[in-house]
């Protein structure tokens, strides 16, 4: 569908809802503020419902469905690392200990971001499937079987060549 009048309309509703919501937050101590908060939230939800309604009109994307639960687990692991760091500030007194705990927390977070999440998103990537097999074979052909390097890509730069070499 690409960009459309419906998108523009619901984006306008989204902006109106955001403005009213913010006005409600600004004056939340008053009755009017609370009312604006509720009205703004309702308008925002309405815009999201509108977006959801027209989402089905979009054409098929090149993305394959991937495990949603694993993605959220990755996000939770990332957040958990921060909890470790903050916990270390409270439970450890010495500066050296706090540095170690902070590094540990960063490590946990990086595990979530650099390992769990990519694994989740790439679990169903077309390069992990045998050639010609896919839940959506049409897209597989478009996204993977025929690629740009087949006579349509200019000579790669040194950086691009390096990337290809390292990938191999």
């Amino acid at each position: 569908m690409a960009a459309s009048k419906s998108q523009g309309r619901y984006f306008g509703v989204f902006l109106v809802g955001s403005t009213v919501l913010c006005a409600g937050i600004a004056y939340v101590a008053s009755g009017t503020g609370k009312l604006l908060l509720l009205v703004g939230a309702a308008i925002l939800l309405g815009s999201l419902a509108g977006f959801l309604k027209i989402k089905a009109l979009e054409g098929e994307t090149a993305l394959q469905p991937s495990p949603e639960t694993m993605k959220w687990i990755g996000a939770v692991v990332a957040a958990l690392g921060w909890v470790v760091t903050i916990g270390g500030l409270h439970f450890v007194d010495g500066n050296g200990g706090r540095i170690v705990i902070a590094l540990l927390g960063i490590g946990v977070t990086l595990f979530g971001i650099l390992y769990v999440l990519p694994a989740a998103f790439n679990k169903t990537a077309f390069w992990k499937k045998p050639a010609g097999t896919s839940a959506r074979p049409g897209l597989t052909r478009m996204a993977g079987k025929v690629t740009m390097e087949q006579g349509f890509t200019p000579t790669p730069t040194a950086m691009e060549s390096a990337r290809m070499e390292s990938a191999r």
Binding site: A26, W82, M142, A158
Partner: protein
């Protein structure tokens, strides 16, 4: 008749006499009751000098003759006096000095903000130049519209969240209306979470100083937002980009910026826990660049790689940008704008310590220079060619990395930080593409995310203890000193900041955009992507007179 006239005249004379006597009596009464006049107070020497200077000041006639040498313009005659009859007093002169200080700082901060605003043009050129012709209009439009989306959201609520409790900066007159920070009590200490004044810039925040800090902080926020557009270029739905930009300008960016710059809990690590001078991020390697880069990583994962980026064996294909000249000119525009970014973050040129702006500007130049050398030499030595796009990214990486430490480090340290950043960006680009399989067309995640984190870390290593930016703003006495100069506690504070960027900012961005993925969807359809986003998403081509070669996949589909 004559008798009546005579009587009237007599009455008038009596009345006039009475009035005269009464008036004289009334006039004499206060004088009679007033105490004896005090002897004139002695004129203070300074005031005497002011009067003497006023007497010697050029007259209007002198000024009418013109002042080609500029030697008689700007004298005591230009100092406004509270009482014109009394002339300029010492109090008048002191007030004018104070206003001059604030005025200089206002102008400095505003002009630097204007420079940062111009960086949007640089970002637009870099990002569009690194993408294909068929997506040029779409990429330029994202860079254009992100300014409006961010500004609107920041005006509505973002500024209040970030700076609503940031009162106390003497450079800009105190910013006293911004005095409400919401905090929580944890572990026996109070920690700031978000500001609560400044919504819509209305009410008490209708203040000259508040307007200056709003403009300056707003353009910083917009820089963070525009980082994401490059990483997700060539397959991102314009509507989803618009919505997520509004949310980022309203919530994600301001929240972390409050914690670091607005009196929030990261800035209180020094006062509450004795960790150095609190988290110090002078101009935003973490607040601006890492926030933008990590958000870009989160959205890039969700939106997925472009069609044709990866092969069936998992290897990556090069997808060459359409205009390397735009890329390199854009990089120069960004480097120019960075002189607003870093030196401008003093928020003043006139006050204690603000003359460090020269040092900061030189550190910025040097890090950009060595960053370029780092990336060019890395590519040249290891791959055989001094790659142009990576040279540009090396320049930007050096600038990103020096952004946080620029207020705290010496010139040699700046050069080292930039050099490391230049190499780091090359390694990071290859890692993100080849190992993570994340498609970042412009290298934004590596330039801003990776090197933003490196910049935050480098404060804890290289700060040389000669500057108290950050420290004084965070309520801690003493200068900011890193590990290499004897203070490991500052390193701990910086690590907590890095952990927060990764664990909170990334996760929050990821969660928000996963919700948007459900409701709106980030990715354009495969057909749109293959045809180019210019026509389906924007309605017109960026370069309508260009002749396009057919996409191979379309040919195959046909």
């Amino acid at each position: 008749m004559k008798a009546a006239l005579r009587n009237n005249l007599l009455a008038l004379c009596i009345l006039a006499l009475g009035l005269t006597v009464a008036g004289m009596a009334y006039a004499q009464t206060p004088a009679a009751s007033a105490p004896p006049a005090a002897p004139p107070a002695p004129v203070p020497p300074a005031t005497a000098e002011l009067r003497e200077a006023a007497a010697k000041a050029p007259t209007t006639a002198d000024l009418q003759k013109g002042d080609p040498g500029g030697v008689i313009t700007g004298t005591i005659g230009d100092v406004p006096a509270a009482d014109a009859k009394a002339g300029v007093t010492l109090a008048d002169a002191a007030n004018q000095i104070g206003q001059n200080k604030v005025a200089i700082n206002f102008v400095w901060t505003l002009v630097c903000g204007f420079l940062v605003m111009f960086m949007q043009a640089g970002f637009a050129m870099v990002e569009s130049g690194l993408t294909r012709v068929k997506n040029a209009n779409h990429t330029y439009m994202m860079n254009f519209f992100v300014y409006g989306c961010g500004l609107l959201a920041y005006w509505l609520i973002g500024f209040a969240i970030q700076m609503g409790g940031a009162a106390g900066n003497a450079n800009l007159g105190g910013l006293n209306p911004l005095s409400a920070e919401h905090g929580i009590s944890l572990f026996g200490k109070t920690w700031g979470l978000f500001g609560q004044t400044g919504y819509f810039l209305a009410g008490t925040s209708y203040d000259v100083g508040v307007m200056v800090i709003f403009l300056f902080q707003m353009v910083f926020m917009d820089t963070a937002l525009t980082i994401v557009t490059g990483a997700c270029a060539e397959r991102w739905k314009f509507i989803t980009f618009s919505v997520t930009s509004v949310i980022m300008g309203a919530l994600t960016y301001p929240l972390y910026a409050n914690w670091a710059w607005g009196g929030g809990w990261l800035s209180q690590l020094g006062t509450n826990l004795g960790l150095g001078k609190g988290y110090c991020d002078f101009a935003g390697s973490g607040v601006v660049h890492a926030v933008g880069g990590l958000t870009a990583l989160a959205v890039c994962m969700i939106v997925g790689p472009r069609i044709g980026k990866f092969n069936r064996d998992g290897s990556a294909n090069p997808i060459i940008g359409h205009d390397i000249s735009a890329v390199l000119i854009g990089c120069f525009i960004l480097a120019f704008g960075w002189f607003g970014f870093n030196p401008g973050s003093t928020l003043g040129a006139s006050a204690n310590g603000n003359l460090r702006i020269g040092t900061i500007a030189v550190a910025t130049m040097l890090a950009g220079c060595t960053g370029t050398f780092g990336s060019i030499l890395y590519m040249w030595i290891t791959k055989g060619k001094p790659d142009a796009s990576m040279a540009g990214n090396g320049l930007l990486a050096g600038l990103v990395a020096i952004t946080a430490p620029s207020g705290f480090v010496s010139a040699p340290s700046a050069a080292i930080i930039g050099l490391v950043a230049g190499v780091l960006v090359c390694v990071s680009v290859a890692f993100i593409e080849s190992v993570l399989k994340v498609d970042d067309p412009v290298g934004a995640i590596s330039v801003h995310g990776t090197n933003g984190l490196w910049g935050v870390l480098s404060v804890g290593l290289f700060a040389d203890g000669t500057s108290n930016y950050g420290g004084s703003w965070n309520g801690v006495t003493g200068n900011v000193t890193g590990l290499f100069y004897g203070d490991a506690t500052q390193l701990a504070a910086q690590l907590v900041g890095i952990s927060t960027l990764l664990g909170v900012v990334f996760t929050l961005s990821f969660a928000i955009n996963m919700v948007l993925e459900y409701f709106i969807g980030h990715r354009v359809s495969a057909e749109t992507e293959l045809n180019g986003l210019d026509i389906p998403e924007m309605g017109q081509l960026g370069y309508p007179e260009f002749v396009f070669r057919p996409e191979p996949v379309l040919a195959a589909a046909a």
